[in-house]
Assembly symmetry: D2
């Protein structure tokens, strides 16, 4: 593991004053092993945005804080990091930071990417179902050509699955790619376009749509079991005493609130069984130059909170669809590059590690927030109503 | 209407060079009627982030461009605006801008907020179903007290509906608030806490969870018909000739792709029947100091694309759950405030107008992107495969 | 309460032999207070099917058994009944019967209809969104006329809610009716047709579809919180000892399996959070002359299984959408009428009681089946694999 | 093809009188090539229900009519059949019969089973995610043993896919079987029990649930793309003139109503994009000894209605999850056996043919019903309201 990190310095007097901010930034520079000038205010040059935006007029500036330290056992070994989060929602960074302290008190969480694969679903439409069936039958023989086209479309992408699905007179050509450390959506789209065009030509499709079953940037049921991008699991056993000390709740109280939450989620028909995953992901995405529109698709998954027979808490967050990259997109740019360096995930080889840190961040935030809902702490002043009433049935 | 806006100036030589960027920014300053120094690079001061973030270390910088001009008939009359979008996804601003030009060629779209109301769903748990039924029966009589508590919790919020829903031994206390020009989530949470505590005390609830059926920041089925925040509809009739000229497609081709898309959406079980709403909303949210985590919840809704008997296209976007504000949150801050001024929606009275401009932005982007999928333009180089084949059956 | 019922007589030698069957049927006749000739084999006359079917060629015959006794506290007081179930799925009636014995050992379950209302959703389409908004605004003033039209369409139906919902250029005219002891779908359709035609005429709709948002006979998210037909809750506290004795599981084991089941349901995106509700409802529907196609819509809802601090089990089944009737439809006919008499719910005033008995039946079956999944009893012979392994973490 | 069938004889005077019923039954006997005594009223003996039900007291009797003739091109060649339907919903058989006449006027529909496979999803729970990952890694090597256990569990079943899916600390062991002409659920459950016990033992699972992700008898999102049982597509090109003559609608009118329906389905979050599939499937299931509880799962899928450039209508129904059998379950019994004979699908080799006839039945019913919604025929008397208004925009 990298060396243990100190607690984040805070100024009781005025924590947003220049000195307090500078003190934290200096610590970040120490951790990152480099200067972080853009975070400090040096404007990014317009030329750096080339290829990333049109009609440029300047740069949006969003407040950025750090949470942590977050300790996680990753596929690259144990890591301890400060997590950069950009947001204007007061109390959010503090909430995540509190959860991260809990995870550290538990000895750290464990996180792993358990599946990789960026899917695209071109759709080919045929004259009728008979034609679509014939087309489906011809797909397996085209596998080699599809792989070759993918290789032509990208140096980093690889086609790892081709699954034709018939729906009436349509053929959904499910293609799955690995994309290295990039999200890889442009590469995958290019390969899907070439591949679907090939199949369409060979099979006489009357219409072809590269993104026909358009899973991109929308929460959906399919990805809950297939996953998309990187699927990550983070889990931890939290000692009972640590939970009570840091979050002021018991495992049983978390189980109770979870029971009500899961009923609510079922009634809502949501694909997001986590609690505040959207908050944490959006804040880190924004800090780290990710495409924040993907939060729609990434902030889905499952949370488990189970008291163990020994009185401790087993907790896990499962995020099936993390679409993140540490190369390409907005990652090379000013503050994004600085934040990726701070996390230690910038560049080639960093994407899975980044995904694992994100899953741990989500778990930390969900534990912290659910606990605060149990204790009604965010509304302390009004607690006198409806409280001090022993729960008879949990 | 405000005066017609000129086309966005572009530099064929190098559109990201300082001069080109400055020229556009000057136009923006003219439109906004004020200087836009932070967009130009002047750092925002840390003190301005007070109450919006903890453990501040600096500010994230994200490239920001403009799309437009967008012409919309709003509840405040016709408007013509440049739409600020912060993103690192190349081609996206151009895609939106193209769609906006189409809407202008059609004489402008029309957008209206058709419903307002921020819902919260505290859950009270009882010993058994009999107790929950009794509690439900007592809620109507508490309406006055709940309204009074809301008034105490906020000067701007108003409780407009109280609907108790029984689920087994649980009472979901659906509360709906209007919140003026703020998103109002903190106000609503405070009122929901006070209100649910009151009901819990009077009815002997054994557990109480302020966000028990937690609709916040997750796409969900419930909001598709109830809406949340502001529900907005934007529609337009696009003359056939304008569609062909600007997007190179016919109404019938858009209908065709829409048929395949809707099948895909049904198979995906998604709540987002729009195409790239997440992109447009995330980019404008980021520019305008909105909470981007809400994109999960906001980027849902429905798109209609119907050829009319006269050969023109009827198009509409329905966004049931726009959670946006023009006061509070991140809106008062450096670049956010500047962008809200650019749109002409900053401050009191601006939220519904902002929502209407967002809906028009979404419609513009969806028309543009779907058209490019039809024409396979984003992969023009590889078009030779699978094309030149007359569609026999649409 | 009616008098306690004896255990169902069984013949160890051959329980399907004529004598064993006759003995049970005689008991049923005693309970029903009348002869049950059609159950015994007397053919129903074709004339009795008039108005219920076209192109009649005869009658399907389906084996029918009884489960119970089932003891339920209903809105009409405690009831003890044998539940008629028609099925060809071996072991199913036994499974329900086992669950009912458990409920009786617990002193009986409690069931109540907690909401009534049959919704219809005609859709009116307008030229554009502006026209649809104007139409929506005019609906409240038409309320009186809509009520009058409902009264004309039916002597038993009453219009209890009119809620116009705007979706783009469409107006979903949500109408809710009470329908007495019939399902009332024909009445509601007639009233919805008259009502939607009236609104269409007054507001200049360009299209009108009586079942436009067609909730009929399909599981759906909307009904999970709105309910349709009759919403029923059944709950019970099962003493720990009774649970162990009858089902050989502990409350904690049921909580464990439930945790896994709920994760599965979330992954499946199903609206049915019960376990085998489709089995029980289909079997009783078939026996009692209900429209079995409604099982699609009725077999949705929620199951709670929570260990109490005192070691007992709290269990509940919530069925939001029971569409059942005790008059009209197939209820007047041969075996259906006999079975409704056996349950004591035939005719006017019986529908809510019938719904309550059904909810208790569902709860009994789910407890029984989940327990058998815990104990792996249905595959006892192969238990040696993967067992005898103390669960370390629940 | 078998010989063309005559129109179903009807009696204008009294179509439910014994003579009219007998005349149709005699025609059925001619078609079936055997007597149909149980349909005619001869009671089934209790002994025949052995293994299919417990606590037998008799037999439910449900009116049974025929629809047709239905002409379908199947994988066994063209077929023309009368479809037996048991129901008490007046007008339903007539509605299906009308749709079948349309299909015949179009030269017959085409139907094919496009995928077979009964999935089961046992779930194994581990101490933590690390253990679950290790277990997942060991599954491929166990494939041979799992196949052997399946062979032991059943002579007819075959294990065709084993796909371990990780969710937190759980392993969903997706198993897919082919099951011959039976539904095969008992066989699959046995094999899944044996297989999951083997994996659990080898990998140290702390909990094991044979039906852990319980897809059985519930509409769900997963099956929409994976299918379950038999996936069937039925399509047809209906000449414009035939459509207008038989259903009094144009292809464009069907496209219009479909547009509104699909919006409604999206808002409902339903997995059933067909119109009255539940009706047709329930009625044929009941007639043919199928488990009607499966209608919940079977009545899902997609309907396409697209006007062709030549003015005709392309129509298709896609049913991804038909769980039907022609051997086992209730199929050997009195009226069920008679109805399967009438359809010509009884016994070995019949299941796929049966599935294809069902899909054609569903398509016929949906065309007929949607058309009647367009023409407002079921409420003809009240048509004067809201009509005679030329649709300006479709």
């Amino acid at each position: 593991m990298n060396e243990p990190l100190p607690a984040i310095p805070r100024s009781a007097a005025d924590d947003h004053a220049p000195a307090a901010v500078a003190r934290r930034r200096e610590l970040c520079e120490l951790v990152a092993g480099r200067a972080l000038p853009h975070l400090a205010g040096r404007p990014v040059q317009g030329e750096e945005a080339r290829g990333k935006i049109e009609n440029l007029v300047g740069f949006a500036q969003v407040p950025l804080g750090i949470a942590g330290p977050l300790r996680v056992d990753t596929h690259r070994g144990p890591r301890e990091v400060f997590v950069p989060m950009a947001t204007t929602e007061g109390a959010m960074v503090a909430s995540y930071s509190r959860g991260m302290k809990l995870l550290r008190a538990a000895g750290g969480a464990r996180a792993r990417v358990v599946r990789e694969g960026l899917s695209q679903h071109p759709v080919l439409v045929y004259r009728d179902a008979a034609a679509a069936e014939r087309a489906r039958a011809s797909v397996p023989a085209l596998r080699g050509e599809l792989e070759r086209l993918t290789a032509e479309a990208s140096a980093h992408g690889r086609l790892v699955a081709v699954e034709p699905e018939l729906v009436g007179r349509r053929l959904v050509l499910r293609l799955v790619f690995t994309t290295g450390d990039a999200i890889g959506i442009n590469m995958a789209a290019r390969a899907a376009d070439l591949g679907s065009a090939l199949v369409a030509e060979r099979t006489g499709a009357v219409q072809r749509y590269v993104h026909g079953e358009d899973v991109e940037k929308r929460a959906n049921a399919r990805a809950l079991h297939e996953g998309r991008g990187r699927s990550v699991v983070c889990d931890v056993v939290v000692p009972r005493a640590a939970l009570v000390e840091h979050l002021r709740v018991t495992p049983e109280e978390l189980q109770d609130i979870q029971r009500t939450y899961q009923l609510g989620f079922a009634r809502l028909g949501t694909h997001n069984g986590l609690v505040q995953s959207a908050n944490g992901l959006a804040a880190v995405f924004l800090a780290c130059g990710q495409d924040v529109a993907y939060v729609t698709e990434c902030a889905t998954g499952f949370l488990e909170l189970t008291p163990r027979p020994d009185g401790d808490l087993y907790a896990s967050a499962h995020l099936p669809s993390l679409l993140v990259g540490t190369v390409g997109g907005g990652t090379g740019q000013g503050t994004a590059a600085e934040c990726l360096e701070l996390l230690g995930v910038r560049g080639a080889g960093g994407a899975n590690l980044f995904a694992e840190l994100l899953a741990a961040t989500v778990l930390a935030g969900d534990l912290s927030l659910l606990a605060s809902f149990c204790t009604h702490e965010f509304v302390a002043a009004h607690e006198r109503l409806g409280r001090n009433r022993p729960p008879e049935v949990r």
